[in-house]
Symmetry: C2
Subunit: 341 residues, 2 copies
Amino acid sequence: MADERSRGVTITEIARVAGVSVPTVSRVVNGRADVAPGTRERIEELLREHGYRKRLPRPDGPAGSGLVDLVFNDLDSPWAVEIIRGVEDVAHAAGNGVVVSAIHRRTSSARQWLDNVSARATDGVIIVTSELAPSVHADLRRIHVPAVVVDPAGLPPLDVPTIGATNWAGGLSATQHLVGLGHRRIGFVTGPMQVLCSRARLDGYRAGLESAGVAVDPALVRDGDFYQDSGFRAGEELLDLADPPTAVFASSDQMAFGVYEAVRRRGLRVPEDVSVVGFDDLALAAWASPPLTTVRQPLAEMGALAARTVLGLARGEQADNPRVELATELVVRESTAPPRG
Amino acid sequence: MADERSRGVTITEIARVAGVSVPTVSRVVNGRADVAPGTRERIEELLREHGYRKRLPRPDGPAGSGLVDLVFNDLDSPWAVEIIRGVEDVAHAAGNGVVVSAIHRRTSSARQWLDNVSARATDGVIIVTSELAPSVHADLRRIHVPAVVVDPAGLPPLDVPTIGATNWAGGLSATQHLVGLGHRRIGFVTGPMQVLCSRARLDGYRAGLESAGVAVDPALVRDGDFYQDSGFRAGEELLDLADPPTAVFASSDQMAFGVYEAVRRRGLRVPEDVSVVGFDDLALAAWASPPLTTVRQPLAEMGALAARTVLGLARGEQADNPRVELATELVVRESTAPPRG
């Protein structure tokens, strides 16, 4: 372990002495081009003077920082806290700290985050949703940091273990529930169609109708983007139809709440006039009025499995299965009832 | 900086070689009693052999790990993510990672968390709500880790900088809003009364009534605990009164959603039959149906200020003000209207 004893001074300390940011020192350490020559020279001098040695990857042992990085595009979603809880449970039990970051979909922010990941020698990275540029995955490989993607959005990169949920089966079970109550005109609000899980949920909805011998009416399928506003607009469009649906299946809970609001604005009621089903089972689904029937994604379990997987990779193990989908489950509450009539 | 160069081997590495957990090594390093003698001896031998030196506190400089710890009782609240976002914004900009933990109100978990904080030499700790035992604060002082409490619950420990919100003023403004709409019978649902912010909100409600010349009717004040169920029960009790209120002010958004459900169950409507006001302004307040009028606590700003404060303390600065209350603000949406006729 002699090589580690000489690691000593940290990038943070060098940055303080040099009067520059940690990412700047990290860029010099990692041989990146985007540092002014004078600054680079000064930092290199300090690195030599203080005997800094770059941390070497040790694929045969634990990485040793006791940290796991968990990165989101944005920390603006109520499901973020459910994933954090799952990751934290497992990491905490293994003595690891969970470093939570948001990269705000900005390339510059992703680059700084990579520098920070490099500087703190994290044991592994859990990326939530896969909107990070492919170059980020290449960079992580270059600095020998294992990565796992938790991907409720369902667009996995090609060479990284991914943990998702059974979106198609969830779409099917929600639709079968509504058909079983007697609904035949069932509206559907999609997620963003560039995201695979949106297609899977839509296909599950279609399969649920077709297996019951109900034809799919394209007029009942409306575009959404997972956010509340789009559910509200889709709900208004559906209720404006000459032959409106008696039930609406929104492919996120937030959009289902938008449908609630479209129903309320017309003086109608959920579920007496319109049944509504969501997708996710956020904590707030149970607090809605009426409590929302929805397809549960096991977000905390997905986070926990991601933590176990990335800690295993950090120990040099292989992921058992690079593509895992955990089961979704229909949770029936009070927003669904037989159609009037 | 010679003292830091010899820091070298980490507790994590020693734990791996010794075949014990990181917290166990940390306990030995910190001279704690709860380690079996044989294990202690073996670990002490390894620490000597590998030249481990305990990290020395450096009150005059940055602590240097580049990490800030953010600890919650539980990661079960939708407001957790808002505080995380505020802390992460500031810490990220300063090149620091944010380690998020939950201690689950268990003493054993708090102890392990302290060991982990010690092992990763965090620069500072942000504690959300103050239900941690006073001994935790003593332990943090002992290992020279600065702490700040973000305390929407309002029960500050005596000697730690605390960041809260103006709960009394929030209670006042919500009540004045309802009085201004013409309401005279206004129900109130309290938070847990052992928590100071609950008392401040209740006192603001009373002040709002009294300043309008409306007598406080104790029958209109009902106990809650901030969770949805208690708001539902309180709402039912209030609607059962012979002379029920025309408006209900619940001192958390979650309880306001419970009141919504009590109103819905009777076939009544918000706001046509009963106006409802919440407290917090969680993201979901805007998604509720109808969108909820509520008192906004600036949770992200509270997190951001906590991060700035603790990073300042880590640099050896004094907190400008050990007790900061950020302003609350009434956000009027669609759940409030004049009382019926």
